[in-house]
Symmetry: C2
Subunit: 473 residues, 2 copies
């Protein structure tokens, strides 16, 4: 169905991007064969890696690949967790890493125009320099803007401010034909034809390659504060969330985290979490524009938590305490990574979280496998980690490979079934990629998937763009 | 390309929805031949009007029409302004007016599930009863939920809270085949396949018929207040907006309104606007959670306006004053309706409004036609009214028909050209329908329109759903 990459095509690619931006060396290509998904069986080497430096180059590369019927897999920071940027059919990996320019900061419209290869770690400081604020905060700051948009990344701050989708106003996209289209613009409103902008967001590089984005920013809130609230059990913790919202309190983030992973991360980082009480924590982050408002808000939150059986409330009321708490939260994944098989990304209605996590705990016991689960309590996005280990008396005990291999598939199915029953979806913010593809039909009806296939054929009739992702054609 | 409606099909339709919900009487059908667009030349009578009472009925109607190749035009409150619900090819008008049930209010998830035929005037009170808040507020409260979603309606409150799109979490949609699909759900996050939910929003009934929606609500802000600020000229008024935002003030709405239309509306309603100063007003609506915050915010806004050459600041600081001001604002359209040919709905980057309106004024002088222009200053959505009159010395002087007929088309083109040059779109919140179809290619490239056509063919291979809208196939 695809053609093999020929020397002639490689020569053409070198003409387009320059010799040194075409990588054929197998030693170097291996770096482009995987993302952050832990199992190596989904890895696949590209035939060639091409690093474009402009939209024009992307256009010429796609036009060539489309004519030659060679697959093209776009790649940003490769921080994905389900193989979205793995070149599953070989061919060309088109890395956007060199397209890392902030094109414009538009103070009047409060928008920023950035190329796809801008890393979040470079993006946030630039935004802050302007006294502005980009609310979404996906975990890994080496992620690049293009990938963040292609997966519709979320993060913890989605409770108050929503996901990446809400902030994307314009996209420059290269189609497989090489045509460059501009979707949206510096616009707050548009009802002008089908919304291709929103269709492109979250399409995982299968419909077009995002080369540039116009992103809405907000005035930055003056301050934020973190509260750490221990509970005897998860249900009490989760049940606090609707109480907060009913009392018109809209935190930036509400995370739930079990004590065991906190303790492991404390050891890993040699840092202290402010509480050892209970079995589960809520981490509530609020923002406000004055110290006075912040104090009042913290008091309200604390009072509501205590009414809902919280054991105590710790306030990280200075930047260094806050920093320490947020660092522990953000490094949990690293602390347990060596034993992690897969991070699930189920999103359920907020009201279903406690019951879904209860089911996770049952499955953990049934299958005798460690399934530490934490995530975004107020937006329903639950990250269950499937581990190649059990956790006993404060120790991680590895499982033999044949054991976890058997369990992995069963655990996925059990949890996706539960997700479906609760009206959930299998990905809240990571995307489908390769890893979740077999489970798409658990939560989407056949008609919807069939419409998606039709859309794919409309955009990419030769199926050269990131083939084998989301669904099979 | 379509088949004529036969007696047999009418009998089938009667079997589906019951005899009394099938309207063949020409006298009654005429009510279903138009929307709020003022020129009668786009009106078209349906062959039959069918009023469904359930998703199941909609499914059976579509399945029948698809098999028989008879066009189906869905219809809600018919408050549209560009012919979106006009059955341009005859066939069946499918009215959703009987599907007007609030299916569920989910307090835990803060969502409401409503059928497509629920009118906004019934929707808002139900939401408020729960102490909740649906931020978008399109002008006409006889609009129905389904149509509001199908056009991605906006309204004045979009500055702080965004458009309808931001609040739609789930849709039940019937496809031309009769298949019922469920998109999204009670979910805050999803990255699970292409976002068909967002594609459906704003698709103007051409891809599927929305029968039910799951809508996110917010805790209601405690109070709002309106400030009326007269300026000597439009530029000073518009230039105030970025100053407000730069100082981290995010109003609910910022409207700009010229004095002439205010004066006409005052006479029409026999009510008084609080100021006679200047030539242009800003109407700024703020919300806050305490009286104290509200006072502080009002003072800040007033100070910034005065710094930017405002002539005065009037605060509607009690509900009856606020009511009076908002009523005048909302009735402008009615006050000048008799002389209105068309309401444009151009959206430009916020920073371009003053220049765009300047161009409107030039065109008005050039063509000797009255073009009163007002709209949403902080979100860039400008409603220029093309009038069949001139406005001289405080009097409306009608133009002869042959005169305005010549001018209408030229004025549209001049303003859409200016819109394009400023990176704008021809519709911010009304949709394209029939009236704006000839101008779509002014702002969208041919590739984008071609992708939209491909999407249409995927969803509706027989082109039975609201044919002749947005673009021609």
């Amino acid at each position: 169905m695809f053609n093999a990459l020929t020397d002639r095509v490689v020569r053409e690619l070198k003409k387009i991007v320059g010799e040194k931006n075409v990588i054929c060396d197998p030693e170097k290509k291996i770096d482009y064969s995987h993302d952050e998904f832990s199992l190596s069986d989904i890895a696949h080497e590209p035939d060639v890696v091409v690093k474009s430096n402009s939209t024009q180059e992307v256009s010429r590369i796609l036009s060539l690949a489309n004519e030659e019927k060679i697959p093209v897999t776009p790649r940003g920071g490769a921080t994905g967790l389900c193989g979205g940027c793995v070149p599953a059919s070989g061919g060309i990996v088109l890395s956007l890493e060199r397209m890392n320019r902030i094109v414009e900061v538009d103070r009047y419209n409060q928008m920023i125009v950035a190329e796809a290869g801008v890393m979040l770690m470079d993006f946030y400081p630039r935004v802050e320099e302007e006294g502005l604020f980009f609310p979404p905060h996906p975990g890994d700051e080496t992620a690049m803007i293009g990938g963040v948009i292609a997966t519709n990344a979320g993060g913890a701050r989605a409770v108050k401010y929503g996901v990446v989708r809400n902030y994307i106003r314009g996209l420059e996209v290269v189609l497989p034909s090489g045509a460059v289209i501009n979707l949206g613009g510096k616009l707050m409103k548009s009802s002008t034809g089908y919304n291709l902008l929103h269709l492109m967001i979250g399409s995982e590089g299968t419909l077009g390659i995002i080369t540039k984005a116009t992103i809405q920013l907000l005035p930055s809130p003056q301050m934020s504060r973190s509260l750490i609230i221990p509970y005897e059990n998860l249900k009490d913790a989760i049940d606090t969330v609707p109480e907060l919202l009913a009392k018109k309190i809209m935190p930036l983030a509400v995370e739930f985290i079990p004590k065991d992973v906190i303790q492991i991360t404390e050891k890993f980082l040699r840092k202290r979490w402010p509480s050892t009480l209970g079995s589960t924590y809520l981490l509530i982050i609020c923002d406000a524009s004055t110290e006075e408002q912040m104090d009042k808000l913290s008091e309200q939150v604390a009072a509501i938590c205590m009414e809902r059986n919280a054991l105590d409330v710790f306030v990280a009321d200075n930047p260094s305490k806050q920093q320490q708490v947020l660092e522990i939260r953000s490094k949990i994944y690293e602390a347990i990574k060596a034993h992690t098989l897969e991070i699930l990304d189920i999103a359920v209605p907020r009201a279903e979280i406690a019951q879904h996590v209860k089911r996770v705990q049952e499955v953990s016991q049934e299958y005798k496998i460690w399934l530490p689960t934490f995530g975004h309590a107020a937006d329903g996005n639950v990250h269950t980690h499937i581990m190649k280990a059990v956790y006993e008396d404060g120790h991680i005990v590895p499982l033999p490979e044949e054991d976890w291999k058997n369990k992995l598939e069963n655990v996925r199915r059990e949890l996706y079934r539960d997700c479906k029953e609760r009206g959930g979806v299998i990905s809240g913010e990571h995307g489908i990629g390769i890893v979740k593809k077999p489970y798409l039909s658990y939560v989407l009806d056949e008609e919807s998937i069939s419409l998606m296939r039709g859309i794919k054929r409309t955009f990419d009739p030769n199926n050269i763009l990131n083939p084998g992702k989301i669904f099979d054609l």
